[in-house]
């Protein structure tokens, strides 16, 4: 039996401890760092603009001429923050790079000229590409040279993207601006009647922080790039405090009272978002990373980890002219909690539609799985990394340790992915079949795993033989060794 004094004492001390913890540290103690992402925030050292004051830029669109698209990687100075210039590394000097519009099934050649003073590598994210054109991290395009990347594109219509994939420096290179969208279409998709033309808009979402002089702030441990890596504090990922959409801070887009199709891409290095709209607007998701869903999926919020895409339709047609619809990020508050705004400025006719049936996806038979592989993404023992901390790894190995496995072309595999902290997992060449809405199958090339998470994905080994990489798409994790090889034989 407990005496009343002891019971009171225990009760009081428990309450006091909880209160003290709550008071001393604030509530984000119970949600990690309060960002929903793994990493650390680098605060900007310039005042950031008032949200929703700059117009949303629409990246220039390019279509292949005789199957060829030219891109020039170069430095340029652009106005990201009003009244300041920011130096970027950009495809054609823009950030994001131009949107490539191509057709699935028609080979595409991207001719990349490197006018930078650094090595670069081009990777078409989500592309089913032979290994020699896949953008292997050390297969670099040295400054002053031109390289043809040939993409057969024997795959579904999908919102792909392209970005730098240089060994150890993908994080800083993409952060500096080397990323753009590549939208593949085909007859099936075109026949659906989804919003098109001016009402089919890519939204490349990323977070950045700024130095005192308005430059993108990236905490490289060695700014001369003599050795890779970021300062220890950012080893878990760099989080910026300014959200850019198509390269503009918290922009605003004037829209017709009509349906719009948005190709959402999270091009952030480490930040995850859970996007939401106000004024009762919702996302009707029609596609994932690797193409159309079987049927539309109406969602009030949309989680998006690094490299993930969502193909959505937003219907503004019921909203009165003058309505402002704000897209927020529910995983964070303040600046990073805001994304962009849509302002309904006029009524307009709209012959677009979202059919109930979008596509047919062949459901893979789990019984046909030839091999089940366990892949664990975690931080390695202390002392493994250059700064004395742990090294991010897959199954305890890293890029320099050879293949993590060899798969056989034409077989079906099951991958069981597990994590210690947040890791968005991406494999080159192959797609993942996952559960979509209402148990329908869906195709992804990047799956977002949460802390201590476990996911099973079905992976058909299709495409080409050769060596590919498999990595975490938190770019700081990727650069700091959370990338391994696998081979297809």
């Amino acid at each position: 039996m407990m005496s009343p004094t002891r019971r009171t004492f225990l009760g009081l001390s428990g309450a006091a401890a909880v209160t003290a913890v709550l008071a001393a540290v604030g509530s984000d103690w119970f949600t990690g760092n309060g960002t929903g992402s793994h990493g650390a925030l680098l605060p900007s050292r310039v005042p950031l603009p008032e949200p929703f004051t700059t117009a949303l830029p629409i990246p220039r669109e390019i279509t292949p001429t005789d199957g060829v698209v030219d891109l020039v990687a170069r430095r340029s100075a652009v106005e990201v923050l009003p009244g300041r210039t920011t130096e970027i590394l950009g495809y054609d000097g823009t950030f994001p790079g131009p949107t490539i519009r191509a057709r699935a099934g028609e080979p595409l050649r991207v001719r990349l000229r490197n006018e930078l003073d650094l090595d670069t590598v081009l990777h078409l994210h989500g592309g089913v590409t032979p290994p020699e054109h896949d953008g292997y991290p050390t297969d670099v395009v040295v400054p002053g040279t031109v390289r043809d990347y040939d993409y057969p594109l024997g795959q579904r219509a999908a919102p792909l993207w392209y970005h730098d994939h240089a060994m150890d420096f993908t994080g800083p290179n993409v952060y500096a601006g080397l990323a753009g969208m590549a939208l593949l279409t085909d007859d099936e998709e075109e026949a659906l009647g989804l919003p098109s033309g001016e009402r089919d808009i890519p939204l490349v979402i990323c977070d950045r922080s700024f130095d005192a002089d308005g430059a993108f702030a990236y905490p490289l441990i060695d700014p001369s790039r003599g050795r890779p890596g970021v300062e220890l504090r950012y080893h878990g990922g760099l989080l910026g405090d300014c959200v850019l959409v198509n390269g503009a801070p918290w922009p605003v887009l004037e829209v017709d009272a009509a349906r719009y199709r948005f190709r959402l891409l999270n091009a952030s290095n480490a930040r995850r978002y859970e996007l939401a709209l106000d004024q009762g607007a919702t996302f009707t998701q029609v596609g994932t990373d690797l193409g159309l869903l079987e049927k539309p999926w109406v969602r009030s919020t949309l989680p998006l980890a690094g490299a993930e895409r969502a193909d959505v339709v937003v219907d503004f047609s019921d909203l009165p002219v003058g309505t402002e619809v704000t897209m927020t990020n529910r995983l964070d508050g303040g600046g990073p909690g805001q994304v962009m705004r849509f302002r309904v400025v006029r009524t307009a006719s709209d012959d677009s539609r979202v059919p109930d049936r979008l596509s047919t996806i062949e459901r893979l038979d789990p019984g046909a799985v030839a091999v089940t592989r366990d892949l664990h993404f975690a931080l390695g023992p202390t002392g493994g990394a250059h700064h004395g901390g742990g090294m991010w790894n897959v199954n305890g190995i890293t890029f320099h340790d050879g293949d993590v496995f060899t798969s056989r072309l034409g077989t079906l595999e099951r991958w069981r992915l597990t994590t210690d902290v947040h890791h968005p997992i991406h494999a080159h060449l192959v797609g993942f079949q996952v559960e979509g809405p209402d148990g329908t199958p869906a195709w992804k090339d990047t799956v977002d795993l949460r802390p201590g998470d476990a996911r099973e994905v079905l992976v058909p080994i299709e495409g080409y033989r050769g060596q590919y990489v498999l990595h975490c798409h938190n770019l700081e994790h990727e650069d700091m060794m959370m990338m391994v090889h696998f081979s297809v034989a």
């Binding site: 990690g32 960002t35 992402s37 080893h235 901390g389 210690d420 902290v421």
Partner: protein
């Protein structure tokens, strides 16, 4: 004037109970301080580990540094626990617990750095539990008065509970054990140690 129920004052209580020796209260406060600090640091460990897992990368380094501090603090707790026992004349059981924790703390640190998480989590939970138990015990009100063991008058251990150190209300002392020192390892500085077993009304025995 309305009738007043007389509530016993503090003076009444201390009057009926001889005050606890200064060495006991002083060493108890030392133990309270260091065991309290250790408990707070220990409870911080799962919190910091959880924050790291939830996304805050710098929390891992804080968890590691906290562990380093704990390695030192654990030995201060050992010293304080010994002092509270002798000369403080409070029970000695926190001593082996504190010594075990102090030896296991570096093991825990190593397991953390090596990412042997199965061992690290088991040991972590145990260390936190042990540290919290010692701190709660030390901080419970009246600890000195309730646990102080008077020096025995004779080597035979003829025992009469000192006045004011009685059983909790409603409890009846049933028997008094006198045990030779050899039976209690680590307590060689005293010839005898008395433990009183009190039986509570529900029949459960209690060692005070």
């Amino acid at each position: 004037m309305c009738a007043r129920v007389r509530v016993p004052s503090v003076e009444d209580m201390t009057a009926s109970a001889p005050s606890v020796p200064g060495a006991t209260t002083a060493t108890l406060w030392l133990l309270r301080l260091v065991a309290g600090v250790q408990a707070v640091l220990l409870v911080g460990q799962p919190l910091l580990a959880g924050r790291f897992l939830d996304g805050d990368y710098p929390s891992l380094a804080r968890h590691g540094n906290n562990g380093l501090i704990l390695m030192g603090v654990a030995w201060l707790v050992v010293v304080a626990a010994v002092l509270a026992w002798r000369p403080g004349r409070l029970p000695g059981w926190p001593v082996p617990l504190a010594v075990a924790a102090a030896f296991l703390m570096p093991v825990q640190l190593g397991m953390g750095h090596a990412r042997f998480l199965a061992v690290h989590l088991l040991l972590g939970v145990s260390l936190v539990a042990a540290g919290v138990v010692v701190a709660l015990w030390a901080w419970s009100p009246d600890r000195a008065r309730r646990s102080y063991r008077p020096r025995t008058a004779t080597a035979q251990g003829q025992h009469a509970p000192a006045q004011g150190y009685g059983p909790p209300q409603g409890h009846q002392p049933l028997q008094t054990h006198a045990r030779p020192a050899q039976a209690v390892p680590g307590m060689l500085s005293e010839p005898y140690r008395q433990d009183q077993v009190w039986y509570t009304p529900d029949g459960a025995a209690r060692l005070r």
